[in-house]
Symmetry: C2
Subunit: 381 residues, 2 copies
């Protein structure tokens, strides 16, 4: 039995993780569930999976949660930073599925406690990849990717010698504006972006998919997860999202991982690796496909991708700045405060004014994150 | 240094193998070269690679070869069945690249001598898969596939647990007549078939590609190489031949191996496994592809594929009969003695009249092979 602590249990990754737990009750059980504000769903999940610990954002939500649970419930209810870090040291494996910078500290706590990590939170590696991977290596724990692209790369590297790798081919759907002319980008409304063609995801990541920042963050993540420099990571636009990513080897051979666009496969692989679970997911229906196509990403149309490569190359605190500035800019766009093209423009401005700190400490990173958020906010007002 | 004995050194696989030896002289050397009749090329290869043994088909060619070599040459020249079997027990690894049923006995001799096999000869496994795999297991030797499809499957299985496999997706270019209406098949001339779109191969295998018998033989081969029943092998037509084959797992994940259509990759992988060689082969140029398409094979148009599945399912001596009848029918077609649709018709007739021997001995198989050839010849006259 593998005991899971799920940070972000009410989000899309969290819910899918629990659906896998439900499919394989003889393999998985839940030690802790942590959410932010969706108290109603969390209460339901507690009823179904009986964790020992449940965590919410603040005292008020903790009280709300308590009210929703039957008096007979034995779950210990915690809240706030301390609560998340307590949840992060439960069970055998921690699923980090919270979104945003909030994922970093609990993930580090989990690593320090010697837990294996199923990592769905991009920011953990984007902000502090060097620190996180170093601590993971010291503790001898495994970080298993949950993102479908990184899971694909991980699967394509299985059974291969690291030194035989040539480059990573990270596929991207291209987002909903792949074929829209750049001059129309100023007219893009949040609603347009939120209709993402293939994946059902949260709002922040959906906008990141539309700007290709999501792919940029994945490049940075891949650099740390697989220990390769950014010049050996190539983004390939593949609108059908059937190939989830590829790895090219030095003999010209390319290994690809394919599947229908459903995040359960990648989550389950992280939970059960090196085994695979009989998920009853259909294999892609090749005979009835219209075809798999590919193109180069257009960084002129999607400057966020180029900014991410730049941050990746310069390293230090710059990826944290990129990420923080992006997060604030995306929410400003979602709240109709800035236009779609303003997102990369603001990030670029903040990146330009940032003095990069090399080999940053965790507090350097958190400070750079804070200052970048402030800087965008200043531009907004 | 790995010493190679190359059976069929003047054919396309043999020549490509030698080009890899030439690229990596610090890794590979040649112990023996065996050809059939191309004495001129063999003499050249002997001059370049200095094997200890060279083998040709008969005494007359052996004399011709001797004449072509400088008097100072130390190579031992052998001929005939005994010669091939002597070549097959040289070096560290035997590359079986002869075409047709002639590959079986030398391969068995190599296995019995404890040599690893790089297997490009389909007939070895089609005729006697059970015997060959059993002896290989007893001797603890490895059989590494050289066919691009089987190499792809082998690469897609690396690092995976066998029990997690769902099915093999064997890709097929579909051959030159994929889109030709069936009613025009009677008009197909050997010359039409010999213009195969993507691969440069010998005549026999080119016709087999046009009838899809090549794919059928590969199904039988895959069954033995990877120990799966034929109902877990699915043929997927993929005209661009960029995906060389795929393996689907029980979690819905599919691992694919891709590359430009060039046989060097698969040969090199067999020679250097588990390492990969820096072949300087370009990775497929995804951004400039028109797209990868797939379709179901049409066994009504290409009955050879259905016949091969049938032989695979019934087993015993039937695959050997299928293979022998096909070989004679293909040469009859190449010699303008029968039409293109006559190929499957003749094979079917011979298969129907054959009484299958279960768990056949090697001599049962060779006898079934001989009788099937005779039967086709009888129909021809």
């Amino acid at each position: 039995m593998k005991y899971l602590s799920i940070l972000g249990s009410t989000g899309s990754i969290g819910r899918n993780t629990l659906s896998i737990v439900k499919m394989f009750p003889e393999r998985f059980a839940v030690s802790a569930l942590a959410a932010k504000e969706n108290v109603a769903l969390l209460a339901e999940q507690i009823g179904q999976f009986s964790p020992e610990i449940a965590v919410v954002f603040d005292e008020q939500r903790a009280a709300e949660l308590k009210k929703r649970l039957p008096a007979t419930s034995h779950v210990e209810i915690l809240y706030g930073e301390e609560g998340y870090e307590t949840a992060a040291i439960q069970g055998d494996m921690v699923v980090t599925a919270v979104s945003g910078a909030a994922g970093l500290l609990p993930t580090l706590a989990a690593i320090d406690a010697g837990k294996d990590i199923a990592l769905a939170n991009k920011e953990t590696l984007v902000m502090a990849g060097e620190i996180v991977m170093k601590r993971a290596a010291e503790k001898g724990i495994k970080i298993l990717p949950v993102d479908s692209e990184h899971s694909a790369i991980f699967q394509c590297l299985a059974g291969q010698r690291k030194e035989d790798m040539d480059k990573i081919l990270l596929t991207a759907s291209g987002g909903p504006f792949l074929n829209r002319p750049k001059q129309e980008f100023a007219d893009i409304k949040p609603e347009d972006a939120l209709r993402h063609p293939t994946w059902q995801m949260g709002k922040k990541i959906t906008i990141d998919s539309a700007t290709l920042m999501n792919k940029g963050l994945e490049v940075i993540e891949a650099k740390w997860l697989f220990n390769v420099s950014q010049d050996r990571i190539e983004v390939v636009v593949h609108p059908q999202s059937i190939i989830h990513s590829m790895v090219a080897y030095k003999d010209g051979s390319v290994i690809a991982q394919l599947g229908i666009p459903d995040m359960k496969g990648a989550i389950a692989y992280a939970l059960s690796w090196p085994e695979r679970l009989p998920l009853k997911q259909p294999v892609p229906d090749f005979a009835n496909m219209t075809g798999l196509t590919f193109q180069k990403p257009d960084t002129n149309k999607f400057p966020c991708l180029a900014l991410a490569f730049k941050a990746c190359e310069q390293g230090g605190t710059l990826p944290a700045v990129l990420n923080a500035a992006n997060e604030v800019a995306v929410y400003a766009f979602l709240n109709h405060r800035i236009s779609f093209p303003d997102i990369p423009a603001m990030i670029e401005k903040v990146m330009e004014r940032h003095t990069v700190i090399r080999n940053p400490s965790l507090s350097d990173i958190l400070e750079a994150d804070r200052l970048a958020r402030e800087a965008v906010e200043t531009h907004l007002t």
